[in-house]
Each structure stands twice: as C-alpha cells, then as structure tokens.
Symmetry: C2
Subunit: 457 residues, 2 copies
C-alpha cells in the first residue's frame, strides 16, 4: 500500500515519465552481472539533480530503502536492491557537462558511460585513464561507487585518483559537496575519499568533477610468451622493479589463453603456458627510451616468444585476446565464480603457485588472469551449480584463497567491491573494531539504514 | 587531583621516565609554530605501541582529553592541547622500522623526522617525495595528521598519496589498521584516507606504511625573473599547461625577493618583480628532453633574466633564496599572519591581482610566495600587534581573502590544516550539512570528544 502512495507522490513530484512499477521495469532493474536478483518496488529515472533530491526527500519521509544504480554491470551485487524500496537508475543523467582544456578537468553526470567520456576527452587531446573492463557499458557513477580499477592502473591508478570533487545528496535529500577542484585541500575531513568506493551506502552522487591528464603521445603494445607459469609470474615482478613503468602489465594463464584462443577460432596447438601483455605509453622520446630498456630486459630472458604489435590490427588482436577471456571462460562450465583478490606484488609468484596447487588438490578448474602489475589476480573458479560436490569444493577453495590473501596482507577485493557477494569474507580482512568503525560511519551518514541497505557488512 | 591519579597510573603502567608534569615539560609542549599556547596537564613520551595503547586506555577510563603531537612545528595550532589533559609526544618513537627495496615501501614510527626518512631512502636509491618546508624538524606522523604538502607536490602530490596503511588506536585503546600495502583495495570504507589529515581528532597513529618510488636519475633547477608580477603569475599557468611537468614550480613576489635578498646580504638594487623557480627531474633522457622544451618556452617569453643552476653551490643559493623567505619576512614587522590558501590553478593571476589590490587598498603589506604550481599561495600579512587599527585592517583583509578563495572554488588551507587558527573560516568553505557530517564522523570515532578536542570545527 505504502508503495502506491510513494509512487503517486513521486509521479506528482518528478513526473509520470520517470517513475515506474511495471513488472518489466522491476525485472530489468533487479540484477547485476553476478546474476543475483532482488526486485525493487519502484524504479525512478531522474533527469536532473532536482529529481534526485525530490526522490530522496520522499523516500526519506516514508523511510523506505533507496538503491542508486548505474548500468548494473557490477560484479558484487552492489546495485541490486536487496531490501526492495526505490531504485534510482542514472541512465538519463548521462550528460558530459563540461570538459576544460585549460584546467584539465571534466564535470559529468553519474550516468555517463566511461567510454563516452574517454572518447570525448581524447578528441580534445586529453586523457581520462581509468578503464574497467566494462568501460563500454559501465558508468562513471558506478565506477566511483565501486572505485573501479582497470588495465591501466599500474601506471595511472584507480578511478578514485581522478575524482576531484563530488556533489550529491544525503539520505534525507540535503545537498552536499565533497572535495574541490584544487590539487591541495586539507580543510575538514576527507569525505570525498570516504564516498569513493562506498557502494552507494553513504550518499547519492549527482555530479562528478574529474581530473584529466594530457593524452600520451605514443603507445607501444607488446606480448611476451612463457613456457611455464612461474616464469611468467616472476617476469611480472621484474617488470615492476625495472623502472620501465608500463601503463598496462597484464597476465594470462594457460587456461585463459586456451579459452580465448578457442573463442577467437585460433589453433590452441602451440598456446603458451603464460602470456604477459605490456603497454608502454608517454611522450615520444620517453616511450622510445623505455621500449629500448624493455627490449633489453626481454632479450636477457628465456622466453618462448615475443611480439611488438606494429599495426592497429595486431594491437586489436592482442587486446581482443585479453578482453575475450571473460566471455570465453564462461563457456567452459555453466558458472564461473569470479573473484578479484589482491596480493602485495612481491607475493604474486607465490600466490599463483598456491591457488593453482589448490585447484589441483581440490580438482577444480581455476583460471587466473588480470592486472598482475597491481597484484590484482582475477581468480575464476569454474563450476557446475548442479554438481553439489564440486560446489562444496569450490566453496572450500574460495575460503582458503581469501584466508591466504589476508595472511599475506592482501585484499579480498581490488576493484569489484564487497557488495553482497563478499560480505561474508569482510571479517577475514577486518577485525571487529574495524568493522565497528564502518558501522559507525554508516550510522553517521544514514542513521535509519536506508541507503543501499544490506551491502558491505 | 584527578591529574595526580592519572599521572600515577601512567607512571606505574608505562614507566616514570616517560611521564612528566614538571612545569618545564608542560611549557615545552604547550605551543606550536603559531605561538598559540595551552598547557597540557601531563606529557607522555611513549617508546612503543604498547605504551600508546596503555596511555589511551588510562586516559579513556578517566575521560580526559588526549592530544597527539609530533615535532610541534605545525602552522595552525593542530598539536596544541587546547583543553589540557594528556599530551602524547612521539619524539621517542622515531624508528625507521623497515625500508624494502623490492616492494618500494617503508614502515616507520610516527616520530621519524621527514628528512631522516628521505636521506635513508636516497641512500638506497629510493625516493620519498613529500617535502614540507619544515622537513628537517617535522615528523612523518605530523605530516600524515595534517596531510602535509611541500615544494614537489606539483609533480608528486601530497603526503597522503604515499600512505599505504596506518596502524594505530581508537580513543579507548582498541588497535586498528586502515589501508593495505596493495595498490588496489576496495574492501570496506576508506578509513585510511579519512584518518589522513584528520589532525589527530579521530585516532592515534602508531605505525605508518609508506610507498616509495625510484629516485630520479637527474635534476635540473632553473630560475626565471620577471619585470612584472602579472607576467610571473601568467608564466605559472603556461608552465602548468606546457606538459613539461616540473617537480617544483615555485613563485616569489617582489616583497619576498627583497626580504630574502636582504636576509642573505645581497644587493636589492636589481631585484626583479617576480621569480619563478622550476625543478625538472626524472630519468636522464627524459629530463634532457623536457629541459629543451622548457628552454624553448622561455626563449619565446619576455623575461628579464634567466638562469640554469649548474653547480651545487648555484643550486644551494637558489634553494636558500626560496627557503629564507619565511624567516626573512618575519623581520619586516613584529608579526606575520601566515595563510596557505589554494585557488584552482587557472585563477592564480586573478587571485594574485586581487590580493595585491586588497593590500594597497587597506594599506597592508601582503607578501605572496609558494607552491603556485598547485594553486597554493602562501599569503603573509605583515602586521604590528600593537597597532590595533592595522590589526583590524588585517582581519578585514583575511576575511575578504577567504571569501574570495571560496568564491572561486578554492580552499582555505592547502597544507597547514584547520587546527585552531582557521576554525572560524571553516563555514566559509562548507555548509551546515557538510560540517554536520564532520561532526557525525567525529562522534563515530570519538563519542566523548576526547581526541584533540576543539580542533577543526
């Protein structure tokens, strides 16, 4: 009953064409890329900040949950409306409001697709580096909410590093701003950083101020093949310590390579045991110097093959090889359990060895690939949900992997967020007092637990 | 009376040689570089984490204020024990616990002097860039508490950017850790960033994990003289947008130059109207390329003089010129009111013009210098406290300057912190709701308002 009253108020306040409770809408906004599904009561598609404020004011008056959402392509259930209520989808607030060549800044609405911003920047000779794998669908708002990573983080860092300021609303509709367009600003607590990666649980963001950098003049993409997994993993560490500082330092194990090869119709006969992808970028002269240094390093190594992508077609082929891993391994078994653990970079070879050993011991196919330059190991356990014994072994493996990661001072999640799927593992990484602080912070912003309830802890 | 009981308990718990209430101790720990003075009741000099925990447990039991302090060279009263109680000084917790060449990390106690860490790093070919002007006395703990800046921030960013993780204690002595040694970590809220720059009001830090980078191979220091102030200010923006990306981009106006010249015994006859100091660093080939680009840029400008420091003596002379401004201008008038406002870099010429105009209109000597590359303008109003009319005009000027700064989306403080001195101006930059969030966060960590009470808001 209350839903009908809220819906009526919302429709009156922000317009009928922006408020929906038809079954097909509720269904469409009920899940993310994890497949976890919970239906909201009402879906609202605000078109400006005023809409967002009015939605929050009304929802707050009725004390119903509010879940903000971007494109719904998250990997931890972060935007799934677990406790029903009002779902705010930012798909219509997708305007790039301003790109300033002089001050190297952009101002965007949360619903802007990451790739669209990158394209607009590049046309002006500017660069917005964060590039989560989902960049062609995911939104800047979602990227900020999860503090998304991507391939270029090794050199350029994660989304949060490019957020200058955030504008938005507290749960009751009060307007706030956090951060400033200035490089230096130590007035008050760093609420901006607290909001970044808070998965929509502390405030609803309606405007994002971003830092841009000059577009690199040159880019070189290389591929190095290894005849054994440990050699590939060790090479990552050599690259990290070499001072070459590539933008991208990606790893693929044999399972990922074979899956991606097959997916692309390539012969798997001579697929290597590991591939490391490296992109070096910067100004022309510097890239040349670093490429020389890199070739020298590679020349000293026992590698099985090596390629510098010369043409655009060659580059595209290498990127496809990397990008296709995810869809390709989804075809091997009915389900992949997709984790994004992080270990300190010095521990990468040991972690790879540990996880692969675990797979052998528990008879599980575990595929490893991803942003090894950041110590960020995409760990995919391939399972059949209809095989309860295998599911149990997978559960055991994940439990051990999370325990291992925490034991070496790593993190249970490097870029996907905790959301719903990693809630149970949060106490592996944080003690009671630390989770107590999270709860107190949540209460400080949202005393009635209405903003995206049930997430993180 | 309660002080004596607490003192006795502290002495019993952590040792008589670490707990003091003699007048000379209380005096010595009662002020910082602002000269603001408030005596603590008890001074404690912990020697390890266990001491810190026991101090907090005891103080919490008696519900007395606790103020953590590094070297006491802050510029906003941040470490002055405004509401008395226990002062914890970290001078004896000054050990560099570990520097790791492989993982580019350091682990230090909070009392380590910034310069000592830099020296130790450089001996190993590593680089810890943050360099607040006070680096030879200020401590890493103090730098983290204030999120200190420095000269090299234009390229390298502020202290917070180098903090990987913090260990410390909540007000009741509960041990916590925030952050991780990993590049990527999105588990839970970003409590680490919240603690950085929180001026000792949320927790007491006892161990700091820092990120290091490779030591730049080469450095070039240059000086450019201008015949007018606006030309100098405009040059800063050209440098910012040039892509040359120097490490240091410092500005000095004529008042600073004349004061520093006199201080160093140089003839002021041909002192320019403005000087811009530029340091370009990086690997050899890249520095050469960027130096060429810089010389080309300078060659096209109408400048009055130009120098590339070739010898160490020449470099030292240039650095002294910059470093001596602060002591030199202190000699012009009995008091300098020292502010560290920030404006978006595009607004630097306008801001310089506005502030200088204000000085003329209100008949005040206002000296401008500092980290203009970051938009960070050290604004010094020189006054005689015994001249009430001048003091009143200075107050008016500062009020107008803070209002101006906020009107252009700047910050009232770029690196000194709010502390006591800028509390009154906090509402210029933040609305009631935003300060409300600060208060709620404070309550979430410190419900009885015992940690460094009276600071920030």
């Amino acid at each position: 009953m209350i839903d009908r009253k809220i819906k009526k108020e919302l429709q009156k306040s922000i317009g009928k064409d922006r408020v929906f409770s038809d079954q097909e809408y509720l269904l469409a906004y009920s899940y993310d890329a994890t497949g976890i599904q919970h239906w909201p009561d009402i879906v609202v598609l605000p078109e400006d900040e005023g809409d967002v404020q009015r939605i929050l004011e009304i929802a707050y008056r009725y004390k119903v949950p509010v879940t903000p959402r971007g494109a719904g392509v998250g990997l931890s259930g972060g935007s799934v409306p677990l406790e029903k209520g009002v779902l705010i989808c930012f798909s219509r607030m997708n305007k790039i409001l301003h790109i300033d060549r002089e001050s190297f800044t952009a101002v965007v609405e949360p619903g802007v697709v990451t790739f669209d911003l990158q394209t607009a920047c590049e046309e002006m000779g500017l660069f917005y580096p964060p590039d989560p794998a989902s960049l062609k669908t995911s939104t800047i708002g979602g990227n900020v909410a999860e503090n998304a990573g991507g391939l270029r983080c090794f050199k350029y860092g994660v989304t949060g590093g490019y957020v200058l300021a955030l504008e938005g609303f507290l749960v009751d509709g009060t307007k706030i701003k956090a951060g400033s367009p200035c490089v230096k600003d130590v007035a008050g607590y760093d609420v901006k950083s607290l909001l970044i990666g808070s998965e929509g649980t502390l405030a609803v963001i309606s405007k994002i101020y971003l830092k841009l950098i000059p577009l690199p003049e040159a880019r070189v993409l290389c591929r190095v093949d290894f005849a054994s997994l440990p050699e590939g993993a060790l090479f990552i560490n050599e690259m990290i310590n070499s001072g070459i500082q590539p933008a991208v330092l990606e790893f693929m194990d044999r399972s990922s390579i074979v899956a991606s090869y097959k997916y692309m119709g390539l012969s798997v006969e001579d697929a290597p045991e590991a591939i490391v992808l490296i992109e070096i970028d910067g100004n022309g002269i510097d890239v040349t110097a670093r490429k020389e240094k890199f070739l020298e390093l590679v020349g000293r190594k026992s590698i099985s093959d090596f390629q510098v992508a010369e043409t655009n077609a060659e580059k595209e082929l290498l990127w496809s090889l990397r990008r296709n891993i995810s869809p390709a391994i989804s075809k091997i078994k009915p389900k992949k359990i997709n984790e994004d653990i992080v270990v300190p970079t010095g521990k990468i070879p040991e972690a790879v060895d540990y996880i692969k050993g675990l797979g052998r011991r528990l008879n599980l196919e575990i595929v490893l690939f991803g942003h090894f330059g950041d110590g960020n190991i995409h760990t995919n356990v391939l399972v059949d949900p209809d095989d309860p014994a295998e599911m149990k072994r997978a559960e055991e493996a994940l439990d051990l992997i999370f325990k291992y990661v925490v034991s070496v001072n790593g993190s249970i999640t490097g870029e996907h967020g905790v959301g719903i799927t990693k809630r149970a593992f949060l106490p592996y990484q944080f003690n009671e007092a630390e989770i107590g602080i999270f709860r107190n912070i949540k209460k400080a912003f949202d005393p009635f637990n209405l903003l995206n309830p049930g997430k993180i802890f």
